[in-house]
Symmetry: C2
């Protein structure tokens, strides 16, 4: 068992609210920080929505447990107060380098020495942020996936300055909140999941964009050969085409060609995936 | 319904025997060719083994249907006689360019003009063989996966000289023998499946070889995130490490580094995958 009891989650957006709720659901006292009253109101709605979702989708999530979880979440828009007694701070604020660095400088000054800082950033490396924390030995990435109660991986990734004992403690904490910890022992952009997904989805897109095979036939092939429930184009539709597009645009020349294809044939036509009612398939 | 009634399968090795048996099982008259009496004896054993496997694993494969299938397979070591009345010849002989070209020259002279030729080659492109057939308009690839009754994709891929009507007929024939046809409209090394699998498995191998994450954690991540029953390292173990190794060795510099890693840590230690009792996992 870890020494972590009090957890502060910075940012109560889609993922921050899920991390806070899941952590409270597993019995921890959670402080949820967001920037102002309006953001806190939105957070309260998110928590209420998550309570409903857990009741429906999570086994063992009866009324009592869900109500207890809600009761364990305190909200505040005072950043310094939010971290004053935290054992662990999980940062899930917008993916803007300067904003994150500034936030780490502030909480680095306000939090006790013992406090561990973890970033949920998908696009920045922890080494981009380590200096601004003032405690690089107690800083690492703890990366969640959307719908944490279902896609319950927690990728743990330090920098070369992270204390191995802190790494181990966060791995154990991830298990304690019902996640499957995925240990990443050297910094890697994209962690494990995107390191697999990006080349896989790009190779699928290249087959369709190059006129080799239809999305339907590519998906059929993958599903029959591997027993997977979803082919790559079905995955793209679920993810939504905008995120893969943004990754492709920042890739190499062949990835940029795929981005242009995706934009012209799908995104510009409003075919963004499941959420928009149509992507590679109709929903 | 196609005009294809009589099918000749050249080569009665692992995949050739499966193609022949599956085709006969679906009601076609099949001629199975292999080079000599010894090879034909081995083929008979394979067909008997397949009959048992179908009884166990294929729904609707009762004694009568399996016995009927066996009865529809004629065997011969006379190449010219084997193709003399064929509507379709499926070639599944060893992956040696000269051997295949020589075989196509011989059957090109011996088969009726109407006969369609299809290669099951995994590693050669049909355009490598088209000239030697003497009938490039009636020649294409029809590519099966091992355990055709379970992994029932049939990738159909012509050259730019293949008659579109022939392409369509072979697509329809693939359905008639219980396969899911995968239409590939431009030549592509690796067809659809390996175009997806190779970058996917390479990116997984790169995570483990680079010391980023363990095979177990990589597999967990993929399975949780995508709902797939198998992670990439489990797939590698099932495929057997030798084939991916051979593909990596012929890849670019980074693929060759992965090949060296695979050889040193697994293949040289006899860890070849499920078939050898150990690969990335113990069985």
């Amino acid at each position: 068992m870890t020494d972590i009891r009090r957890v502060t989650v910075l940012g109560a957006g889609v993922l921050g609210s899920q991390i806070a709720f899941q952590t409270a659901f597993e019995g921890f006292d959670v402080t949820s920080f967001d920037i102002d009253d309006k953001a806190l109101d939105a957070a309260r709605e998110r928590f209420a929505g998550l309570a409903d979702t857990y009741r429906r989708e999570v086994s063992g999530a009866d009324d009592d447990r869900v109500t207890d979880a809600l009761g364990r979440i305190a909200s505040t828009s005072d950043l310094e107060a939010a971290v004053a007694e935290a054992d662990l701070v999980i940062e899930a604020i917008p993916e803007i380098l300067e904003l994150k660095q500034d936030t780490y400088r502030r909480i680095g000054a306000a939090a006790p020495e013992k406090t561990i800082f973890a970033t949920n950033s998908s696009t920045l490396l922890p080494s981009d942020l380590a200096d601004s924390t003032g405690r690089p030995d107690r800083f690492l990435a703890l990366h969640f996936a959307n719908r944490v109660w279902q896609f319950n991986t927690a990728e743990v990734m330090g920098t070369d300055r992270t204390d191995p004992a802190v790494f181990r403690e966060v791995v154990e904490f991830a298990s304690e909140i019902g996640m499957v910890p995925i240990e990443i022992h050297k910094e890697k952009a994209g962690y494990v999941l995107n390191s697999l997904l990006v080349p896989f989805l790009n190779s699928a897109a290249a087959l369709a964009a190059g006129g080799y095979a239809s999305p339907e036939d590519v998906d059929k092939t993958w599903k029959i050969a591997t027993g997977a429930p979803l082919g790559p184009f079905q995955m793209l539709d679920i993810i939504g085409l905008t995120t893969p597009y943004n990754i492709m645009v920042h890739g190499d020349a062949s990835a940029q060609k795929l981005a242009a294809w995706l934009k012209e044939n799908y995104i510009d036509k409003g075919k963004l995936g499941v959420a928009s009612g149509e992507g590679f398939y109709r929903y």
